[in-house]
Subunit: 146 residues, 2 copies
Amino acid sequence: MAKTDRFGYKISMSMLLQKCTEAGLKITDQRKVILKVLEESEDHPSVETLCERARQVDSSISIATVYRTLGLLNELGLVLKHDFKDSSARFEVDHGHHYHLVDTETGQVVEFQSEELVALINKIAADLGYQMVDHTFEMFGHKLKK
Amino acid sequence: MAKTDRFGYKISMSMLLQKCTEAGLKITDQRKVILKVLEESEDHPSVETLCERARQVDSSISIATVYRTLGLLNELGLVLKHDFKDSSARFEVDHGHHYHLVDTETGQVVEFQSEELVALINKIAADLGYQMVDHTFEMFGHKLKK
DNA sequence: GTAGCTGCAAACTCTTTGCAACTCT
DNA sequence: AGAGTTGCAAAGAGTTTGCAGCTAC
């Protein structure tokens, strides 16, 4: 029943809904659809893409609502907002920390983790006299030809 | 005469002008001012800030020209464009690779280098079967209290 | 002389917001 | 009932662009 993502994190389909309820948000039809679409998205969709997907379920959903919903989820720390390099923001459910490598030839996004990287980053910050509270890291590259 | 930055890179005041000439660009009064302002900026100014600084020298310079000039410099690889987390793009002359740590309490930007980080990043990409061509990395944190 | 550059203003893209109607709780 | 939410359309912020005139080469 409980699905897991590629890193083994448990995903329940209504996780976002639960958290939203806990946060005191009202559960409207629109939010149900938007959250479901978000949870089912394995890529990193833009607001417009999310809105299109949501509209396939309920064509009355407006992009303003999608923006507002994503804003709330972002405040609650439930989704991650990325900028990549095109102009519009991209979102994903926060399943725990991982990084992105964008294939410059196909646009495909590869996700990965690296404890070594996390450790090194914290060490660098400490060496500079800082406590790290957040960081961004993205790679761009193409498949190695052999 | 030759100044150096904090990492010891040599800076000559007309480096950007030289490169622009080599690239076949015309050297207009506006470009001279914009390039000078860019080279003298030790921070990471937005387009608007750059435009304001340029206007203090020549008040007729328009923001459209600043955008166009930065676009050209970016294409030539002479300036770096950053997004940080506020909405507008920020620029700096590319003095060679370094990273930024943004102090979340003061907004101050600390620059640093790390060969170890570069090596690790390349290794991670290779392990994923990729040749890295670019990456972004930014840290956010606050000073360690002792 | 002419290709390239400029300022201006309009257009564009992405995002936010005021408002009146509506709906979850 | 009432606070929160919605769709719409207008407004904002940041950036790009068409154009007529100007300028470096």
